[in-house]
Amino acid sequence: MRVNEYDAVVIGAGVAGLAAASFLAEKKLKVAVVTKGEPTACLSTGAVDVCSQGDEPLAAIQKLPPEHPFRLVDEETIRSALNKFQQTVNAAGLPYIGSVEKNRFILTALGTFKTSCLVPVTMEASPQNASESLHIVTFRGLKDFYPGYIISRRKNAKFSVYDAGVSTTMSLAAHFEEKNFFEKFLLWLEKQNIYQDKIAFPAVLGLESAAEIVKTISILAGRPVFEIPTLPPSMPGRRLFNALKKTLRDNGGDIYWSWPVTGIEAAEATIEAVTTRSDGRPASINGKAFILAAGSFIGGGLTVTRHGIQENIFHLPVHIPGSRETWFDDNYFSMNHGIGRVGIAADAAMRPIGTSWKNIFVCGSILAEAQILKNGCGHGLALATASAAAKSCAEYLAR
């Protein structure tokens, strides 16, 4: 009996990796996720952007350049991947609202609007225009959130400060899940003179039970309450990661933490195992198919060296448009840096182009030409391509 052999091994535990693994595990395939560390999804706002280049994300996708990885996935797969995501996180206790048919805004910590699509229920009441007045509640000493930025942009906003005795997002979130602290806070909130339309909080309202906390405050205050994403550590990002992890576990998938893939074992054109260095024996995990979802530069899937750009695990050919001079714009804050187009090019079956490996699929932000910042497609692209890669992988395994 082989216990350590899997149908599919997914490399990377971000949104793409966990989603792809869950899609496969749901089909009763034996799946393992291996990951070097925790994903950049933990640092994200938690919101799922699909395509921010218009009001309707699906229509906006059709206007993306033909080489964009979203164009590899048909509309039905995108729609069902996102619906599926909403169902699963709902079941994991983290409802996401919104619809793939229409984009919506979330208010940022700078007071600007970010175009997103599916957002955690704690951001449901985020204003969709400039007219609603806001009361911002913040916490003494919290360094990752300055209400002054928002107020400088929105004249109809006021703020008050609660002294929680702690001043980091992590410890605030832990405190909000304690009954005594929460009750004391609610007593304080009642005494505040709040006449504005909505109450805004930095996203520190708990880790496991944020939805209930937001609901409780809004019932007590008699007006909608919403969270504004903060600088990392980002609670909404971590909640999303936890929900996806739970979904995979519930479907029977295994996760190997701190397992940086350092080598592969192969026979002819088939990869048989991934290996890692360890304190003692080299460890390996066998699989019939592999999905690469290791992320791009920050995630650790791609590395830039003096000599070029490489994909770290399978040494797949990397799509690099243009010479090094075109990688970076002069403007640091540009959304259009050429390096955003670097990645692994794939075909419609999410197989990497230009490799002879037969049993490898790729998804998520490591895909070439994604330009996630410019197109506003973080997490959405990951979910859609994960679904497509999982589908191809399952078809491959069924053969």
Binding site: G37, L43, P232, S258, T276, G280, A283
Partner: protein, 393 residues
């Protein structure tokens, strides 16, 4: 230690259990790579907050850049221990092995005293927290066991560690019977404390002393053809990670190459086709709490794979919450509040699963979770034995 690889992403901070509840601890990023830039061997270390790190290693597990904040802090803890006078509590817990040996010898008396108000007051005077009851010493340690030897093809040397030997030899006996069911003979090599409690209390010299003695003994057994198995995940992590690392043990590589977690080893036997046990039905729902150090061993969760083979057994894996005890860490008065808050969070997550019992590989996790929740706690070995119809003598 690669502290210069840190990109300040704060994922380690998100994962630090102590940082969540103790505002005095600046978190793994600041205590580790950030502060490391300003440290010099030529200056005395004055950062007493490095002692607040419980060495759960969650920061290292989470780091996407290969930085090892806990390792950086561990080295500073040793430096602090060397450059500052040791407190009574630190000295006591570093010498946990001798303390436990003594307690076992006088078990009935020691247990009686530990349970009385006077005993608790005495503990308080020594800076020991009594938020959960201290484990009961066992008069008959595992080492008193007379080992039966048959002529099996495989033999393992069992590094049982202090917890099983002095407090829960019954679990040790079950593990030995479990191996017998897999057609493997077990021997108990001469062994001492793995050294982790000494490290955790800033006593590098004592840790090295223990490690050298263990390494010599285990190395002999490896040469004689034995594989080493450990049951305590913290002992295992110390053997595999700290012997070649901070303790600089010459035989460390050999030990690491031949050292297995009990369940990892049982799985390996099944993979090789050496044993094909028939697991009986066990209709039950348990919460499987993953000790931080099992995560840090990078071997996945082997006991979960074995439990998955038991018909009727439902388990939910919980690996997000540290139980807060971290061996002797939570028994120190100054960490009591941290330990209780973390433990309660872990218990609340366990209650959400509506499980009947708690299963965990680590003895101190079981002590903390059982003590705070009042639920029954089991080692995976006990569950496997029950399913295989093995009863302790």
């Amino acid at each position: 230690m690669n502290y210069e690889h840190c990109i300040r992403c704060t994922i380690c901070v998100e994962n630090c259990p102590v940082f969540r509840v103790n505002p005095l601890f600046p978190g793994p990023k600041q205590a580790g790579p950030d502060a490391q830039r300003f440290r010099s061997d030529k200056e005395r270390i004055e950062d007493d907050w490095v002692l607040l790190c419980s060495q759960c290693k969650r920061c290292e597990m989470a780091c996407p850049c290969g930085v090892e904040p806990a390792q950086i802090i561990l080295r500073e803890q040793q430096r602090y221990g060397r450059e500052h006078p040791q407190t009574k509590t630190h000295l006591l817990f570093a010498n946990n092995y001798y303390l436990s040996a003594l307690g076992s010898l006088a078990a009935p008396l020691a247990n009686l005293i530990a349970a009385t108000q006077t005993g608790k007051k005495l503990a308080g005077k020594l800076g020991i927290s009594t938020h959960i009851s201290f484990p009961r010493f066992s008069f008959r340690t595992l080492r008193h066991e007379r080992m039966k030897q048959s002529r099996t093809a495989k033999k393992v040397a069992f590094f049982h560690g202090c917890f099983i030997n002095f407090y829960r030899p019954d679990i040790g006996r079950k593990i030995i019977r479990l191996f017998a069911a897999f057609n493997v003979d077990v021997v108990l090599p001469p062994q001492w404390c793995c050294g982790l409690p000494a490290l955790g209390n800033g006593n590098l010299a004592l840790a090295k002393h223990f490690a050298q003695k263990n390494a010599a003994s285990l190395s002999n057994y490896i040469d004689a053809g034995y594989d080493i198995v450990y049951s305590c995940t913290s002992c295992g992590l110390c053997l595999l990670h700290d012997y070649p690392g901070i303790l600089e043990i010459p035989q460390a590589k050999k030990i690491a190459e031949n050292c297995y977690d009990v369940y990892e080893y049982l799985l390996k036997l099944m993979e090789e086709g050496y044993a094909q046990p028939k697991f009986g039905e066990l209709p039950r729902r348990v919460a499987y709490h993953i000790p931080c150090h099992l995560r840090a061993l990078k071997i996945g969760y082997p006991a979960a794979k074995l439990m998955a083979l038991i018909p009727g057994l439902e388990y939910e894996i919980l690996d997000d919450a540290c139980c807060g005890l971290s061996g002797s860490y939570g028994f120190k008065k100054e960490n009591e509040s941290t330990a209780i808050q973390l433990g309660q969070r872990a218990v609340s997550l366990i209650r959400k699963t509506e499980a009947q019992d708690i299963v965990a590989d680590c003895g101190s996790c079981r002590m903390q979770l059982g003590g705070l929740s009042g639920m029954a706690t089991y080692d995976p070995a006990e569950i496997l034995c029950e399913s295989l119809g093995i009863t302790a003598k």
